[in-house]
């Protein structure tokens, strides 16, 4: 198929200048030239001061082993599930009230029934939490079955396990917040299960409840753990997790034998 060539519109000379030729005087930079270079100049100005080009290159243009496949996207998928939870959670916090004497339930009802897109954002947060748990488990299974936890990546496995536990803690504390019958009784049962841990269990329960039993401060406590304490820890640990992934690189799938290539296995 012949390439279709549209006729150029008749531009005035000033918008369609001749390119500069070698030997032309360089000092006479016209305002138009400066304007055209403005974007590049601004980026250069910032980069000269932050020197982020090399790190960005190191982060984004890494060599990956041959055999890399779709299973390797599960970690990124979990990361984006977390980001989705963080963003929807921040906006839900604009309407939510952790008030156990009816205000919490009423604020959730208000989000669902009255706020524009409220049910949608609440639904994203609710179903997204399940998606995140499923993805983090699949990501862990991938790491395990591909042997990607072995030397020198043990530290990253340990960080990942802590992230898994923190994710479960998010699920547990978030479940109470809608404050309906199901939330309340599921949390009571969950806390009581926690209390059956010998020696420390009863004291951990007192910490979770903020007293010997469910009381006026419990909901606010759960809310604070759910939206400040644990997300902060998760964000920091995800940073460490990603840094170690970049530092060590990813592993080849276990079914590939090492190849005696000149390029050291990269292709």
């Amino acid at each position: 198929m012949p390439k279709l060539k549209l006729p150029m519109p008749p531009l005035p000379e000033v918008l369609n200048p001749r390119p500069k030729r070698p030997g032309d005087p360089t000092n006479g930079a016209k305002p138009l030239d400066v304007a055209k270079e403005a974007g590049i100049s601004a980026a250069d100005w910032v980069d000269e001061r932050l020197a982020l080009t090399a790190p960005a290159r190191w982060v984004m243009f890494r060599k990956i082993p041959r055999g890399t496949n779709w299973f390797y996207t599960l970690g990124s998928a979990t990361l984006f599930a977390f980001l989705s939870q963080a963003v929807t959670g921040v906006f839900l916090a604009m309407y939510y009230r952790p008030d156990p004497s009816g205000g919490a339930y009423e604020s959730i009802r208000y989000i669902n029934d009255e706020v524009f897109l409220g049910q949608f954002v609440h639904g994203m947060h609710k179903w997204g939490s399940t998606v995140m748990v499923i993805l983090i488990c699949l990501h862990m299974a991938r790491t395990f079955f591909f042997g990607a936890y072995k030397y020198p990546r043990e530290m990253n496995w340990i960080i990942g396990v802590v992230l898994l536990i923190l994710t479960f803690l998010m699920s547990f504390t978030g479940y109470l917040l809608p404050f309906d019958q199901r939330s309340y009784w599921a949390t009571v049962v969950g806390v009581n299960i926690n209390g059956t841990g010998p020696l420390v269990g009863p004291y951990l329960n007192d910490f979770l409840y903020g007293g010997p039993d469910f009381n006026a401060t419990t909901l606010a406590r759960f809310y604070s753990i759910h939206m400040l304490l644990v997300p902060g820890a998760i964000a920091a640990l995800i940073g460490a997790h990603l840094w170690l992934v970049m530092k060590h690189g990813t592993t080849a799938p276990p079914w590939l034998k090492p190849r005696d290539d000149h390029d050291g296995g990269h292709s």
Binding site: V188, V189, G195, F207
Partner: protein
């Protein structure tokens, strides 16, 4: 003029030939400043971290007093079946601060544990001792039944079947001028001996009472 060799053991920095050493100085300025930075950094961190930690952990060490609730005249309470009453454990938080208790007068036919000032009326908690769901007294079978995982308790609140690990908790009761008052909760083992309140799922027989110690937040009334 021969230079004296540096004395490695000397306490003076000048003797140890450290550049920039002062006369009579025993610790280098670099070590002093570095140590000070760590010390004051540590102090500054502790100054906000320790109070915050204590603030979050404080309730774990503070005993919470349950209010006594008036539940009506003694004459309304039978001695061969239960009546239910709603009491408030935690004021100001609406429905979730309340709980249902089942009451009956002490009857020597069923109640073999020693009588005292606090059990002339037996008050049974509705909190299941498996995981804390609310139990219901079914008068037709004279049993307490839990809807969640099938826990069954007999007329005295002792385990008849299912997963619960100990009899239903009870509340202290008092009779003042013919009016019944319900007070704090206590837990019982399979011999109905009183213990400080425990969470559901925590065994109180044998080693259980040591694996699940009583907590500073909730104690039984002393001497009972």
């Amino acid at each position: 003029m021969a230079e004296t060799p540096p004395e490695k053991k000397s306490k003076y920095t000048a003797d140890r030939r450290i550049p920039g050493a002062f006369e009579g100085e025993t610790i280098t300025r670099r070590r002093l400043v570095g140590g000070s930075v760590h010390l004051f950094g540590g102090l500054a961190t502790a100054a906000f971290a320790l109070p915050a930690l204590g603030f979050a952990l404080g309730p774990v060490f503070k005993e919470k007093k349950t209010p006594w609730n008036e539940v009506g005249p003694l004459a309304d309470i039978p001695n061969d079946t239960y009546v239910s009453r709603v009491i408030t454990l935690e004021p100001d938080i609406g429905e979730i601060g309340k709980t249902t208790v089942y009451l009956r007068r002490r009857n020597p036919k069923f109640d073999k544990e020693p009588a005292d000032d606090y059990n002339n009326v037996v008050a049974i908690s509705t909190r299941c001792m498996h995981l804390g769901c609310p139990v219901r007294f079914v008068s037709a079978s004279a049993r307490f039944i839990c809807p969640c995982h099938g826990g069954v308790y007999n007329f005295g609140g002792e385990v008849d079947g299912g997963p619960p690990v100990r009899p239903l908790d009870r509340f202290y009761t008092q009779i003042r001028d013919g009016i019944v008052w319900v007070g704090p909760r206590f837990s019982v083992n399979s011999e109905l001996r009183r213990f400080s309140p425990r969470f559901p799922g925590e065994d109180l027989d044998g080693i259980g009472q040591y694996l699940y110690p009583s907590r500073p937040t909730a104690r039984k009334i002393g001497g009972t």
